[in-house]
């Protein structure tokens, strides 16, 4: 427990120090609870998520980093591996492939990579997965783009 806290503090410092290093990720720790973090990630370019900013919620177990953080999208996203309602993410490194060597920052990077490379064969969002599996890439892209505009981009005034 104490170890997880210490590690999270270190990660926090690291994040503060490397803020400029990865402009696509902004990790913020909850003011009162170091086990709660939120992240803002930019949708990768040349994907339907480009231009959108997606908010992630991290809930970190006390056994961290031996156990992976629980991460979900707070921003609605149309993606085969993200539950449309809950924002749950189906990503191996957040489950059985977790390694204590990962950090919150690297988890964010992994999620960005997942956005760019959806895995329709293990879908949490069946509609999205089915579109891709049936080869309707255009349909998937337009749906994803629409939700990105709706949910992840600043409203046009």
């Amino acid at each position: 427990m104490q170890a997880s806290r210490a590690r999270l503090f270190k990660e926090y410092k690291e994040v503060q120090r490397e803020k400029a290093v990865d402009p696509d990720i902004q990790l913020v720790c909850d003011d009162s609870n170091i086990y709660k973090w939120t992240a803002l990630i930019k949708g990768p370019s040349e994907t339907p998520y480009e231009g959108g900013v997606f908010q992630l919620a991290f809930s970190i177990p006390e056994q961290y980093p031996l156990l992976p953080p629980q991460v979900r999208f707070l921003t609605k996203i149309f993606h085969p591996n993200v539950h449309f309602k809950t924002g749950e993410i189906c990503l191996d490194i957040l489950k059985n492939a977790w390694s204590p060597a990962w950090t919150l920052q690297s988890v964010c990077r992994a999620i960005i990579a997942l956005m760019a490379h959806p895995e329709p064969d293990s879908p949490l969002n069946c509609d999205s997965g089915n579109l891709l599996r049936s080869g309707d890439v255009r349909g998937y892209r337009s749906m994803a783009r629409m939700y990105t505009r709706l949910a992840a981009m600043p409203k046009k005034g």
């Binding site: 690291e14 031996l66 390694s99 204590p100 060597a101």
Partner: protein, 327 residues
């Protein structure tokens, strides 16, 4: 103090090759040692300065001299000089060697040469060398006066004190074989006082003189203590540097912090290689992981498969040796 000159005389022939190589650096170093030495003396003598000093010197002279044969000095000296001159990697390598080789060599020389060499050198010192020795003396004291040389001094002082003790121990064994020394000391000292410092410098060639300077610090204890001193200062330092270097060289595979808990890896941790994939972590985290799912964070293979084969500990020991050679 006569031993200084004796050492020089004895060393002159064989020193020729060595002295050239010795640079300003070693001279400076020796200067520091000299100062440290002087401090040590002062602290030991404390009370009646001049008188005590003379007696002290005399005793130390005949105690120490037999032990430190000129040849032994030269060897160790040149060795030390080389050490100083070499660049880092070599230096470290030497560092590895010197602890084992130097002392041994020094001992050999001591035992083999001390009876004959010391006698001859002493006789010569009475005649000609006394001046050079005087030089050393003269310069030494004014210089040594109030100078604080920083860290080096401390090292040197400690080292000198240690070597002095050694010398004292040795004296018990070697004292009897040459009583001559006792006589020489007063003679040398008187000669010193009588002769002008200039005499020594004029008589000797430039290089020789520079050699003298380099050696001066030391006196009798120098030769023997020099290697030991360089050992003392180089060692811890060297070990540390070794450590650093090993860190640098293996920086790719060896992070300075545990990637799991982000704490700094200590020496044990950094020589701990629990997985064949090369992923390093601290022992605490390793234990915790073993208690949890037991998979290497780097390759996600189970630790059990590797560590049970003894790979873990075999690796561990082999990696420890280069990292901590002298511990």
């Amino acid at each position: 103090m006569g031993y200084d000159s004796m050492a020089n005389v004895g060393s002159v022939p064989s020193m020729v090759s060595g002295k050239k190589r010795r640079g300003n650096r070693s001279a400076k170093l020796k200067q520091c040692k000299l100062d440290a030495r002087r401090e040590q003396w002062l602290s030991q003598v404390n009370g009646g300065k001049d008188d005590c000093k003379v007696t002290r010197l005399a005793t130390s002279l005949h105690l120490l001299h037999p032990l430190r044969a000129p040849t032994g000095k030269i060897d160790s000296k040149t060795k030390a000089g080389e050490d100083e001159r070499d660049d880092m990697p070599l230096h470290e390598r030497n560092g590895l060697d010197s602890p084992t080789h130097n002392p041994v060599m020094g001992n050999h020389h001591k035992r083999n040469n001390s009876p004959s060499n010391s006698v001859s050198s002493r006789s010569s010192s009475v005649n000609s060398t006394s001046r050079s020795f005087t030089d050393g003396e003269r310069e030494e004291h004014p210089e040594g006066g109030g100078e604080g040389n920083g860290v080096l001094d401390d090292w040197e002082a400690v080292a000198d004190a240690l070597s002095e003790d050694v010398g004292r121990d040795d004296r018990h064994h070697c004292h009897h074989p040459d009583p001559v020394v006792t006589y020489i000391v007063p003679a040398a000292s008187s000669g010193i006082l009588g002769e002008a410092p200039l005499g020594g410098s004029t008589m000797k060639l430039k290089p020789v003189r520079s050699t003298k300077r380099a050696w001066r610090p030391d006196d009798t204890s120098r030769p023997q203590s020099l290697p030991s001193i360089s050992k003392k200062c180089i060692f811890p330092w060297n070990a540390e540097r070794d450590h650093l270097v090993s860190r640098q060289s293996s920086i790719l595979s060896l992070p300075s912090r545990c990637p799991i808990c982000y704490e700094d890896l200590d020496l044990t941790d950094s020589s701990f290689l629990p997985c064949s994939c090369g992923f390093r972590l601290c022992l605490f985290c390793h234990k915790k992981i073993l208690e949890a799912d037991g998979r290497c964070p780097g390759c996600r293979k189970h630790y059990d498969y590797m560590s049970s084969g003894g790979v873990e500990y075999g690796r561990n020991t082999t990696s420890i040796i280069p990292v901590v050679p002298f511990v």
